[in-house]
């Protein structure tokens, strides 16, 4: 019996497909509703908030501004110190707006009312006297440091660090060719189907929070720090979560206001973002790389020298510090280039704060390095595959330490490239596209390669419990929110314990039920939470062997476990799994559970993806097909893994061609879902996804690497390359919008 490696159907999908899932907003609880008054100004002094009319309205309990809320919100929102070293950063204190607003959309007051309609009516009845001050809403302006977002910082630069390896100046000088480049991703908006939502209930001593989040345990720690309540008295529950993509791993002032209100009123308070509010709760990407590269006649890239600018928005969110610190490290990618200088800069502007988004820094880095590879190919009139062949780290160099010190664990990049070109039919599709173009069609084929860092530690928690009746409950610190990882983990545990998968239940997302945890992000859950679950299961099995041994009056070593039976090797006596389970709770044994916090580190999957793009006479591009060939280590559930390629690939279509969060000259978000184009099924390509059969394992017990972000990491570069093939133009910024395409078509 083996479940791993098979496309076992997702275990808990019935409720989702039949509309019986429970999101935060579905929870029935006698709570007050919060509604927010928001600033239309990007930067202004708050002179006065007129609450009187609102307070007179029926059903309105109270109205709070920063003056009241910040008495409870003691500390500010800060960076995720597990992954971000705060020391080199300039960080403004970020609590609920008090005295000044720093971006259009920032909440300035919260209304609490008995229902959400009254709350909203009352929010509209509140007027605020502002005194607008100079705002800086673009990175270019902010860089001048003329208008400051935060006076107290003395600069708009939140972070400046130069990542230097080798001697890029010298390498540039001795290179056969030099070329100036400018590459970037414009601002976009992650779009989970379920908007953010929170219910907070403070009863005078304990705080319970039901929260649409990817990181309940980190949230508990942050709430503890911010409100000064010990973690043991905070419970954070993550009900069903309708998508996160990294955008549900940070905390916003609205959520702090909900908790603070509950603490001040001693009553449950709730808030669910409207779609407009959701669009303002998280913006992502926006980074530009400007610099110069050096390369030789044979196509080898020998130097990268430039500046990376990453926009922060008005405040440093929990997750945005990751980008300027990890993008540079990953710019070398799977290639041998060793002379680099990346001046990394993070810049505050009076705009909606920016957070990580699926791939978090790896899509940015991959877009840069893959654009560079394609640039070398174009300059030297070499094929995309040839250029990559000449630059990839070779197998005999593995494990390879990249110029910034990252250690690539396992892989054979060159072989995968060659296999991928065959499996994806790159050469024949290229030829087909060329012929189609001769007939007047605008079709193109493009590929790109990626190396991903994922599986991030530092650790993960898991507990395996065998219940009295022989059931298995696996509690994980990972927090699946749509990926279906729970099914893969059930497969691993069922295999480890040699029990039917129906016996295994996986639970997560409640900080009281799962004492510790980190969460689901960075394509890590199967590897780190899966390995922790396997470890805990092994330990439980060991306990069961001991129970069986005592019952059969044998030494533990004499007991062998196989397929649900504990066998006395010498005497041939047997005990069934159920009997041992029952005995585990007889009063004589300590019960059957084991928990671990398993240490883990990064691992490096890689792959090659290809797209076929067609452009019409108006410059509208469609991705017709998307093909992927990846070495993600061992594949536990191929269907789940493929699903990740489909989802990430569709978001890659969005980032490459559609999704642009327009901020107007007043710093306001100027799009709604009527003109912020999240791709629909119609814009989604046909997918073909393959995984390397001869995979390269990670050091994790599961031998898995990760696949959750792969297609969004490499997809934008793939699609842009296909677009170039189709049109003959050159595009270095995402999204590439139709009129830019049309201009290049002429």
């Amino acid at each position: 019996m083996s479940y791993s490696g098979k496309s076992v159907k997702r275990l808990y999908d019935d409720k989702f497909v039949t509309g019986r899932s429970t999101y935060v907003d579905d929870l029935k609880i006698n709570a007050l509703y919060a509604a927010f008054v928001r600033s239309n100004y990007a930067h202004a002094v708050i002179k006065r908030v007129h609450k009187e009319d609102a307070l007179k309205m029926s059903g309105v309990v109270t109205v709070y501004t920063g003056e009241e809320l910040n008495r409870v919100i003691k500390e500010g929102i800060g960076p995720w110190t597990t992954y971000i070293d705060p020391r080199p950063w300039k960080i403004p204190k970020w609590r609920f707006a008090q005295g000044e607003v720093k971006y259009a959309g920032e909440p300035v007051a919260v209304v609490l009312a008995t229902d959400k309609y009254r709350a909203r009516d009352a929010a509209e009845a509140i007027t605020v006297d502002y005194e607008p001050v100079d705002a800086v809403v673009s990175m270019e302006e902010a860089k001048k440091d003329k208008v400051l977002v935060h006076k107290e910082l003395g600069t708009n630069y939140g972070y400046k660090n130069d990542f230097v390896a080798g001697n890029p100046e010298k390498a540039l000088e001795s290179a056969d060719h030099r070329k100036k480049v400018e590459i970037g991703n414009r601002r976009l908006i992650p779009s989970p189907m379920e908007p953010r939502g929170i219910v907070a209930s403070y009863d005078g001593s304990n705080l319970s929070v039901w929260y649409s989040t990817q990181i309940p345990h980190f949230a508990r720690a942050e709430f503890s720090r911010i409100f000064g309540i010990p973690q043991s008295r905070i419970r954070v529950v993550m009900p069903d979560v309708g998508g996160g993509f990294g955008s549900k791993a940070h905390i916003i002032p609205e959520e702090l206001a909900v908790i603070a209100s509950s603490m001040m009123l001693g009553k449950p308070v709730r808030w669910t973002a409207t779609r407009t509010e959701e669009m303002m709760a998280t913006n992502s990407r926006h980074n530009v790389f400007r610099g110069e590269i050096g390369f030789n006649n044979d196509g080898t890239l020998v130097a990268i020298n430039g500046t990376l600018e990453v926009e922060l928005g008005a405040y440093l969110t929990y997750t945005e510090g990751i980008q300027p610190t990890i993008i540079p490290l990953m710019i070398p990618g799977p290639y041998r280039v060793r002379d680099l200088k990346i001046e990394s800069r993070a810049i505050y502007t009076n705009t909606i704060p920016i957070t990580m988004y699926r791939g978090a820094s790896r899509p940015e880095a991959t877009f840069i390095i893959e654009r560079l590879m394609s640039t070398v190919a174009d300059e030297l009139k070499l094929d995309d595959v040839t250029v990559r062949e000449r630059n990839l780290v070779r197998e005999d160099q593995m494990p390879y330490t990249n110029p910034f010190g990252l250690k690539y664990d396992t892989g054979d990049y060159l072989t995968l490239l060659r296999e991928g070109v065959k499996i994806l039919e790159y050469n024949s599709m290229k030829e087909w596209a060329r012929k189609e173009r001769e007939k007047g069609k605008r079709v193109g084929v493009g590929l790109a390669y990626y190396l991903e860092i994922c599986g991030f530690g530092p650790w993960e928690y898991a507990e395996t419990r065998v219940t009295e009746d022989g059931g298995v409950i696996v509690a994980i610190g990972g927090t699946p929110h749509g990926q279906g990882t729970e099914t893969a983990i059930a497969q691993l545990v069922a295999d480890e314990l040699q029990v039917p998968i129906e016996r295994v239940k996986v639970i997560w997302g409640d900080s009281d039920a799962i004492p510790a945890g980190t969460g689901t992000y960075g394509s890590r859950t199967v590897s780190i939470a899966g390995s922790a679950a396997v470890t805990a299961s092994r330990q439980v099995l060991e306990k069961m062997r001991r129970v069986a041994a005592r019952a059969m009056k044998a030494d533990v070593e004499e007991i062998e476990y196989k397929n649900g039976e504990f066998v006395h090797k010498r005497e041939g006596k047997k005990m069934r799994w159920e009997e041992v389970s029952r005995l585990g709770y007889s009063g004589k044994e300590p019960g059957l559970s084991a928990s671990v916090t398993l240490e883990g580190d990064v691992t490096f999957p890689y792959g090659i993806h290809m797209a076929i793009v067609e452009v019409d006479e108006y410059g509208m591009a469609r991705v017709k097909e998307y093909r992927a060939y990846d070495d993600i280590g061992r594949v536990i559930n191929p269907a789940l893994a493929e699903g990740q390629i489909h989802g990430g690939g569709t978001q890659a279509v969005g980032q490459a061609l559609y999704e642009l969060a327009v901020i107007n000259e007043n710093g306001q978000l100027a799009v709604t879902y009527a003109d912020y184009y999240v791709p629909t099924a119609v814009e989604s390509p046909k997918f073909k996804s393959y995984f390397a059969e001869k995979y390269h394992p990670s050091p994790y017990l599961t031998k898995t690497k990760g696949v959750g972000e792969a297609a969004l990491i490499v997809g934008p570069a793939v699609i842009v390359r296909a677009l170039e093939d189709a049109t003959g133009g050159k595009f270095d910024f995402t999204p590439v919008i139709p009129e830019e395409i049309l201009k290049k078509m002429k």
Binding site: K116, Y117, R120, D121, E124, T274, E617, Y618, G619, M620, Y658, L660, V662, A670, V671, A674, D675, Y676, Y677, P679, T680, V682, E683, I737, P738, E739, L742
Partner: protein, 294 residues
Amino acid sequence: MVRIPFKRLFLIIKMYPPQVGYFRPESLGEALEFLEREEAKVLAGGQSLIPMLKLRVLRPKYLVDIGGLKELSYIKEGDTISIGATTRHFELASRRIRGLEILQEAASKVGDVQVRNVGTIGGSVCNADPAADYPAVLTALDATMKVRSKKGTREVKAHDFFKGPFSVDLNPGEVLEEIRIPRLEGYRQTYRKVVRRAGDFALAGLALAIKLDSGVVKDVRIAFTGVSQGPHRAKEAEKVLRDSKLTKDVIKRASEASTSGANPPSDSRGSSWYRLEVMKRLLQTSLEVMANES
């Protein structure tokens, strides 16, 4: 006179929109009666009105829901085609009307399935979104709007009905009852629409009807949507085409002329420059197809 049963009057819908009274009349007469007396807005399919309420850009005191009135949902064929105001997009999209094939094509390109199932032609026309699909068709085909109020009935030509973005020739108390479109037999007709993404409003759309006799253009109607304050009738292009053959050169000149008088907006769907390019290409492609077919 129709008496309004007050027991049906004060159902209050409360969603995120502001508080609003809801009235569901049993006949057009009842609706007109109510509209005469109260500060109310007609609700048909709600596909434009409800979002506006949710965004709180409108705050009427009452909604008068005519969406369920059977007497306003019909397609009557004669020399003129008469379409009741609450006829659903879906019904128009599933019916091929001889001499008015373009309407089916346009209706099938409105929004997505959900929108087409609920939204009405009257609602679309009265809403007059500058990127909506029907207004261009009705302008190209010189349709007539039959408008009714308690005081009586009047008729307005499409050209005069569409006054600007979200603005039509309707007075308080008036309801659009019917749309009348002359049958254009022997015309080739096409409605083409350029969108960024499936189900969206047009970046630009083209309604084209053309009558050819031995390759010579006898009559032609061209109107665009999405490129001006309202539907843009491309009279200059029509002039170029009339009495000419659809040669490469004529098509090119007509396409260039089509932008004359258009003043496309620049917004997140596309810049003004881009829209002008799209207009020209739309007309050019459409005419080329027709030239090849003849």
